[in-house]
């Protein structure tokens, strides 16, 4: 029997050559804060939450957002969700929010029972193929983006399970930047000493 359609070996060889950022936590740990001026805008999207309310990413402008793509069937996602719940509680008052976007194919039928049995204190939205395409396909979950107060990607995405301390470091870094880039621009001639938290 021909083995030409048995593609394991070529796939394995390709994987061995691949250095995707999602292939290891080590790659994630190298994620560095991008200079505010070189950050790219996170694509806006409109999705609905469990109550049927329409939510846009741009609604969160002015806040630091941890945008987490996940699914109920994703084991590593379950490890991160309690961290995100903790972050939401700890940093919300400082202008931080977690937004979870579930990529469950079965939609709310799958998500609502999960939300009923797990403690999640942040907003969860139902993803779709449009948002998936906007964010690079999202073939691997969890995938998490840190978005600054101006709606821009502040760090390299975390593809796969990341470290809790990595997230904490990134959140603290962005929350420390109290002024948005536009605000920094407006006050750039003011001595830094009187602009607390302006530097990242």
């Amino acid at each position: 029997m021909s083995l030409k359609v048995f593609a394991i070996l070529p796939i394995a060889a390709a994987l061995a050559l691949c250095s995707c950022s999602g292939s290891s936590a080590a790659a994630n740990s190298s994620a560095a804060a991008q200079q505010a001026s070189s950050r790219k805008a996170a694509p806006d999207f409109t999705l609905t939450d469990a109550n049927g309310q329409t939510v846009k990413l741009s609604d969160y402008r002015g806040k630091v957002v941890l945008l987490n793509f996940w699914a109920t069937w994703c084991g590593p996602c379950q490890i991160e969700i309690p961290w995100f719940t903790e972050f939401e509680q700890q940093f919300r008052s400082r202008g931080f929010e977690v937004v979870g976007v579930s990529m469950d194919e079965d939609g709310w039928k799958a998500i609502k029972p999960y939300l009923a049995t797990h403690k999640i204190n942040y907003r969860v939205l139902l993803g779709d193929e449009t948002v998936s395409s906007l964010y690079g396909g999202l073939d691997a979950l969890p995938t998490t983006f840190m978005i600054d107060r101006d709606g821009r990607f502040a760090f390299s995405p975390h593809i796969g399970l990341a470290g809790k301390n990595e997230y904490l470091s990134e959140i603290e870094s962005l929350l420390g930047a109290r002024q948005s880039a536009s605000a920094q621009h407006r006050v750039r001639f003011v001595p830094a000493a009187v602009v607390p938290g302006a530097a990242e």
């Binding site: 048995f6 593609a7 691949c18 250095s19 995707c20 069937w73 590593p76 799958a110 979950l141 399970l161």
Partner: protein, 141 residues
């Protein structure tokens, strides 16, 4: 970054060897082992995952002249991921289907078509559920 064709998220984590053709008499049974291989470093949920939210591996036969009397999966491995114990399949394994040919089945060549649905992960990430089509050549004598 890597080329899109080389990214793990865009490749199947599981491959199915071409099934052996089946020859069966009308009214008879035939056993078809489907040989499956999971890419190294990955696992797929077994047919009976422990968590209700996990997506089981499932082989279903959709069209063709034979009836699938039973589908038998191997014994799963128990692996620990984080704090959870999971029932998974890794490496090479077989899923065995026992077909029965109806006594009224038309003689000649045909094809049984099935779907193998699975959901793969490694220790750091999971990949969206995937369905592979399986086609088995059948000769009914």
């Amino acid at each position: 970054m890597c080329l899109p064709l080389l990214c793990p998220g865009q490749q199947n984590k599981l491959a199915v060897r071409p099934p052996e053709p089946i020859t069966v008499r009308r009214g008879g049974d035939a056993v078809e082992p489907l040989r499956v291989e999971v890419l190294g470093g990955f696992h797929v949920n077994s047919d009976k995952p422990k968590d209700e939210f996990l997506i089981p591996l499932r082989l279903t036969w959709t069209t063709g002249p034979l009836e699938a009397k039973s589908v038998t999966y191997p014994k799963p491995e128990e692996v620990k991921v984080g704090t959870d114990l999971l029932n998974v399949f890794t490496g090479s394994f077989q899923i065995v289907t026992t077909f029965q040919s109806p006594s009224s089945a038309p003689q000649g060549s045909a094809t049984m078509t099935g779907k193998l649905r699975y959901q793969a992960c490694n220790n750091e990430m999971c990949f969206r559920p995937t369905t592979i089509e399986v086609r088995v050549p059948v000769t009914i004598e």
